[in-house]
């Protein structure tokens, strides 16, 4: 994987900026630390970005914490608490958190010029800093945390040189520099790479979804905040006017009791309708998701609560108009009436589905605008550029205009 692969796709100015900054930073050490090697958005991001950092001449490493189940139960609780829906964290839990951080910090070589610590799990690595500039990259929305949990974490995060959030609204007030980096998608990853029509058709055929009428698609976990029941209701309202199919594609929910419950409700609500297809995709079905998005006529993301919602950017990249809930990072991606529609109700969703099915030319125009919006703002090269910029800015802290 090389930066050159993005020529003709990403903004040429972004590629030039990366090359220029990389020429100054070449050979210097960058370290990323997170808690999982595979699965989840952060691992996905690092899998794609680390080879690119290497390609542009940085001495980059990606280290993953080693931990067992009790630690991850604690960090899941911290994660939930930071989003305002956790259980109280006991002294023992914080001790376990500190112990695993200490052990991992002792095991991993933390010598680097620029250290990026992702999310709360390895946040205490900062206590074992040897040198360099350290930044805490928060990928989650911590705007409404449980106070006690945030109070504890704030003391830890306050020791970093800076932090990065995905959306301004997701942040908390901190005594350190806070940067904004919007998440991005990789146009060359399996999830987004161009597929030939034959492959798209083959995936639909294999998954038992005929392409004989317009397809509405929502790709999401079976989670109440993604409102899959509302999606079915909206589809039913729209179907009175336009014959269509609905595909709800999500992961298997075997380790998530709440997900199983939602899935059961969805299956019950969809029962008896052969035009509703509930697909349980195994992990790492990126190419299948890509094909489903490419074969759809309209992509839905009817979230009532959302993180950044990068699945919206994935669909827009494939020139699909997106009808999505006005939540989290979605309004940054769906420009009302231009790349799709923001909706607040089942009725609103149904109305917008009808509008787009009635006017495929408008849907096509939205798809084109959506792809360009993503190309300019949400491709992985933009992320690389911003990381290099932040590294530079933190090393030249007194300057507001920095000449490279």
């Amino acid at each position: 994987m090389s930066l050159k692969d993005y020529e003709g796709i990403a903004e040429p100015g972004d590629l030039r900026a990366i090359e220029r900054m990389a020429s100054v930073l070449a050979g210097r050490k960058m370290l990323h630390v997170n808690s999982t090697a595979a699965g989840g958005g952060v691992a996905e991001l690092l899998t794609r970005m680390v080879p690119l950092f290497k390609d542009i001449g940085l001495d980059v490493r990606w280290e993953v914490m080693q931990a067992d189940r009790p630690f991850f139960e604690v960090t899941k609780n911290i994660h939930n608490s930071l989003q305002g829906r956790g259980r109280p964290l006991t002294r023992e839990m914080w001790d376990e958190f500190a112990r695993v951080n200490r052990e991992n910090a002792g095991r991993i070589d933390l010598d680097a010029d620029f250290v990026v610590v992702h999310d709360p799990q390895p946040a205490m690595f900062i206590d074992y800093r040897k040198r360099g500039t350290w930044i805490w990259r928060c990928h989650i929305d911590i705007s409404s945390p449980d106070r006690a949990a945030w109070h504890q974490l704030k003391d830890i995060v306050g020791k970093y040189d800076g932090s990065i959030f995905s959306v301004a609204n997701f942040a908390q007030s901190l005594p350190i520099h806070q940067f904004l980096i919007q998440p991005t998608i990789d146009p060359l990853a399996d999830k987004n790479i161009h597929l030939e029509d034959e492959e798209v058709k083959a995936v639909y055929e294999r998954l038992g979804v005929p392409l004989d009428k317009p397809v509405l698609l929502q790709v999401s976990r079976f989670d109440p905040f993604k409102d899959p029941l509302g999606v079915i209701d909206a589809y039913r309202l729209a179907k009175k006017y336009h014959d269509c199919r609905l595909v709800l594609a999500g992961g298997t929910a075997t380790d998530d009791p709440e997900g199983e419950k939602v899935l059961a409700e969805v299956e019950e609500r969809a029962a008896g309708d052969p035009d509703i297809h509930i697909l349980l995709l195994p992990p790492f079905s990126d190419r299948e998701v890509n094909a489903l998005q490419r074969g759809a006529d309209i992509v839905l993301q009817k979230s009532t609560r959302e993180g950044f919602g990068l699945v919206v950017a994935e669909a827009l990249w494939k020139k699909k108009p997106v009808i999505a809930g006005d939540a989290g990072g979605i309004p940054l991606q769906v420009i009302e009436g231009v790349t799709g529609f923001l909706v607040h109700s089942v009725e609103g969703t149904a109305y917008r589905i009808r509008q787009l099915l009635e006017n495929p030319e408008r849907a096509e125009r939205m798809g084109e605008a959506g792809r360009e919006h993503i190309r300019r703002n949400f491709l992985t090269t933009r992320n690389i550029k911003n990381y290099l910029g932040i590294w530079t800015a933190l090393e030249r802290r007194d300057e507001k205009v920095i000449y490279i």
Binding site: R16, Q178, A393, V401
Partner: protein, 216 residues
């Protein structure tokens, strides 16, 4: 620049930094506007010009956009949109003008309801990273035009908008170069007279390019 007849294009981008301060209604906005940093006022009045737009926003400053889209107060939004930041030599004067407009509105109308959570106005700041490019042009006008079409939109920002701050006078690098190095005062004057507040960088690029094409 290699010599005075060579124009070297720079590109740039902005890193957004968060102040942690946010306004849920117009009174909050006014209150924070009083004390927030000059960098923040500058950022919200200029960042439109340094952002890539697949779609042009309705208004070219963040305050007007928020008042229009989130507060739903078109009258106040229009008044704020009409403030041209390039007319103000000092940010403090710009801050004062924005506050004056909001006060005037509040003297006549009741304050609108607060926005829903998640729709607050977030006061941010920016750090600009400036990058030299290898794109240079010699003393030929058509060469300048070719490069002008090739550079990133951010180069237009740097040479047309940022120059006003850098040079501390209402001018831009393009018209300076055309006038002094290429001895084309006519085109330079026409470029210099373009109203910077009325264009995004992409539209401005086309505008300047067509003025040069006419001259060629």
């Amino acid at each position: 620049m290699a010599d005075e007849r060579t124009f070297r294009f720079y590109e740039c981008f902005a890193l957004t930094t968060l102040t942690g301060r946010k306004a849920a209604d117009i009174l909050d906005l006014l209150d924070i506007m009083k004390t927030v940093s000059r960098e923040s006022i500058f950022h919200h009045m200029h960042q439109y010009f340094l952002k890539p737009h697949a779609v042009e926003p309705e208004f070219p400053n963040d305050f007007a956009v928020w008042v229009s889209e989130s507060l739903g107060e078109p009258l106040l939004a229009e008044a704020l949109a009409n403030v041209n930041p390039f007319e103000f030599a000092k940010i403090e004067d710009l801050r004062f003008e924005l506050m004056r407009i909001i006060h005037e509105y509040l003297d006549t109308y009741p304050p609108p309801r607060p926005v829903l959570p998640g729709r607050e106005f977030m006061f941010n700041e920016g750090i600009t990273i400036v990058l030299p490019t290898s794109m240079e042009c010699g003393p030929q006008l058509h060469d300048f035009l070719l490069k002008l079409r090739e550079v990133d939109y951010s180069s237009i920002y740097f040479h047309f908008y940022e120059s006003r701050l850098r040079l501390d006078r209402p001018t831009d690098d393009f018209s300076e170069y055309l006038s002094t190095s290429l001895d084309r005062p006519g085109i330079a004057a026409r470029i210099k007279s373009l109203d910077p507040y009325m264009y995004s960088t992409e539209v401005l690029r086309e505008k300047i390019a067509s003025l040069i094409e006419e001259a060629l």
